[in-house]
């Protein structure tokens, strides 16, 4: 039953691609949206919905550049050397170079991509945890910093016309972040702080995207 749920739309998707008109090969400027699922490689971070916006520039038939700004929000399980219980918000801003291999008259274009990006990170402590410390007079904070990462991946774009494409992609990012923690005594303002190094995020994102072109 579950297999058929996955296979049927897949077959439908392949059928439709064959019936579509030839695409333009994604040359020119494009804009679109992406949505999917992200699972950080760190087992303490849960999987989460991922999403974002995409700008692309197709410089030639086989080469394109892409800028993507995304979002993912994994829940975090506490660990001794890592973050406490809470939820991480990650906004990756990524620049990719894509090698594209269109066929079927340009209607279908598998691609591989490689790039780098900057990951804007923030963290919200579990509200119960924060409250319990507040109850004994302390403010607990943990702030992850931004991080630079590299990524690679690949996928398949299907052109539904000259101005619209639909894609399925897989992207793995290598990202390690740092964070600072602080515990502040609300009365005396006595604060103790520390750093957390080597917090591996490295999400694997699988997602769909739809793009519109202005060429």
């Amino acid at each position: 039953m579950k297999r058929s749920i996955v296979l049927l739309p897949g077959l439908a998707f392949l059928f439709l691609t064959c019936a579509l008109p030839a695409g333009a090969g994604a040359q020119g400027l494009g804009f679109g949206f992406a949505a999917g699922y992200a699972k950080p490689s760190n087992s303490l971070y849960s999987g989460s919905v991922a999403g974002g916006v995409v700008f692309s520039i197709g410089v030639m038939k086989y080469l394109a550049f892409e800028i993507q700004a995304g979002y993912l929000g994994p829940a975090v399980e506490a660990s001794e050397d890592g973050l406490s219980e809470g939820r991480l918000t990650v906004v990756p801003v990524q620049l990719s170079v894509q090698g594209r291999f269109p066929f079927a008259g340009g209607r279908v274009a598998p691609f591989v991509e490689l790039g780098g990006g900057y990951y804007l990170n923030s963290f919200a402590l579990d509200s119960n945890l924060a409250k319990r410390w507040k109850d004994v007079g302390f403010t607990l904070e943990e702030k992850p910093g931004g991080a630079v990462g590299v990524h690679f991946g690949g996928g398949l774009d299907v052109f539904l016309g000259r101005r619209i494409s639909l894609g399925l992609g897989l992207k793995y990012s290598l990202v390690t972040m740092k964070a600072v923690w602080s515990l502040l005594d609300d009365a005396s303002r006595t604060e103790v702080t520390g750093e957390l190094d080597g917090l591996t995020l490295s999400p694997l994102v699988v997602g769909l995207r739809v793009r519109f072109f202005f060429n």
């Binding site: 749920i5 520390g194 769909l208």
Partner: protein
Amino acid sequence: MRRNSGKSAIVFSAVIVLAAVVTLVPGGAVVKQEPPPAGDAATIPVQVDKGPPKLDHALYMFQKIHETQGPDKAREYAERRRLDVEGDAVRVIVESSGTMIASERINGRAAVLENHVRSLGGRVEDSYQELFQCRIPAAGLWELAGNPAVRFVRPPLRPHTQAVTSEGVALTGANLWHDLDPYRASSAGVKVCVLDLGFKNHNLLLGTELPATVRTRSFRADGDIAAGEVHGTACAELVHDMMPDAQMYLVNFNTELEHRQAVEWLISEKVDVISYSIAWFNAGDGKGTGPICQTVKRAADNGILWVGAAGNYAEDHWEGTFGDSDADGWHNFSGSDEIINFYVPAGTPVGGFLNWDDWGVWNGIFYSGSSQDYDLYLYWWVGGNWVFVDKSENWQDGDQWPVEFIGYWYHPTVSTYWGFAVKKYSATRNCKLELFVTGNYDAVEYNVPEGSLAIPADSEHCIAVGATDTVTYPDTYHPYSSRGPTHDGRVKPDFTAPSGVSVSNLTYGYRGFYGTSASAPHMAGGLALMKGKTPYGWDEVRAILESRAVDLGPSGKDNQFGFGRLNVKK
């Protein structure tokens, strides 16, 4: 155009389906592995498996697991459910039914049940009226419960010791911390030592009023950790009440050298906190020097936080400059009065400790000594007259300490007044005298509460703790609690903490632990609690507690309450 619109609709439908597949499968209910939240339990289908109606469910499960998963799993289960298992046999209580079956009428109920139990490979350990305590192999539980003579088979009821928690725990807010997980710290890593004279009955309180395991060591010559004294045990109870997670050391001594050896050992053990409810007299100049304060300094230099009782001597203390207005060689306490008196109940030992401000220079090992010679004399009031009892006439001609002591060996058979007199033997100046009296029922005549700190509460390395009441008049000062300043003018004590609190009946009982001896362990426990739960260093923990202390008496730190009463909540 219309055709394109139709295609788009189909394509978007496919996108939505695909998106749903991609986004929902990883978190969907189908593959969810986590247990449901407690409130959702009713929505999860549960297969009811209650077992035989006459068998406790834990015992039923024990046999079932034994048969389906083997003895090891069954023993694991038994441990979780606190079943008393030996080998494969579990201890149970068999409640026999009220009506006798035929064989019971003939052979007696006990005999019939015993035969059945024995046939199952078990034994009857004890019986009382309708109850039979038995050991039954796992395989026989269901069958035993099926016996018509049996009303119910269950585990024995478990006795629980009545836990006694100091009222100081709630007053200081320590209870709010107990369920809080340490943040980048380790509660279990904090080592707290109660350094005291004796720990009688401590072994009877392990796992209840004290941690299940404690480290004990006696530095007494006879190696007796109990030493006939419950004082240390009561202190340890309070530390445990305040900071249940700490590793606890119970260490005792009897002499100053044993005391020093004990501290050296505690340094080697990397103990974090010493809770010290012991006082010394005539052991230093009151400025934080002398052999006992040196030991405290040695501990502090090695990272140990020393928390000490300020002393219970505010009403037992007199100090003043020697004055001899009638030029007879005797100090005049007031006008022509040359005896400081105090009332002593019958049977109470009497003592007096005199010292004066001529200790010389402390070099870390010795004082250079005194050349001002005063002596101490003891009298009691008999038949309308002061009658001489004893004297202390140490030499002070350069090397000796400026101290005189008349000790505890007088146990008067009648309640009466006693008195001390001080005589100048040979002195080139009028020294500042200090007298501590023991055995007095209430405040001594001409009482001077100021400066009544016991040693080593005068040490700058000792967090000195005074006593406030906890139950009857919360946060009121206990008048016996020793006050500062030190003889070099420093404000002491540093804090006050609860006293008049409850401990177990094996020590001082319900609301029976009074004195700064009770206060110091509260303070030590409070410091250890905050240190064990947070990543702050000792200096920061101390600063935080200074700011949180409930300021009593004059605003700010004062010589009666210090920074105020210990408070670990916000």
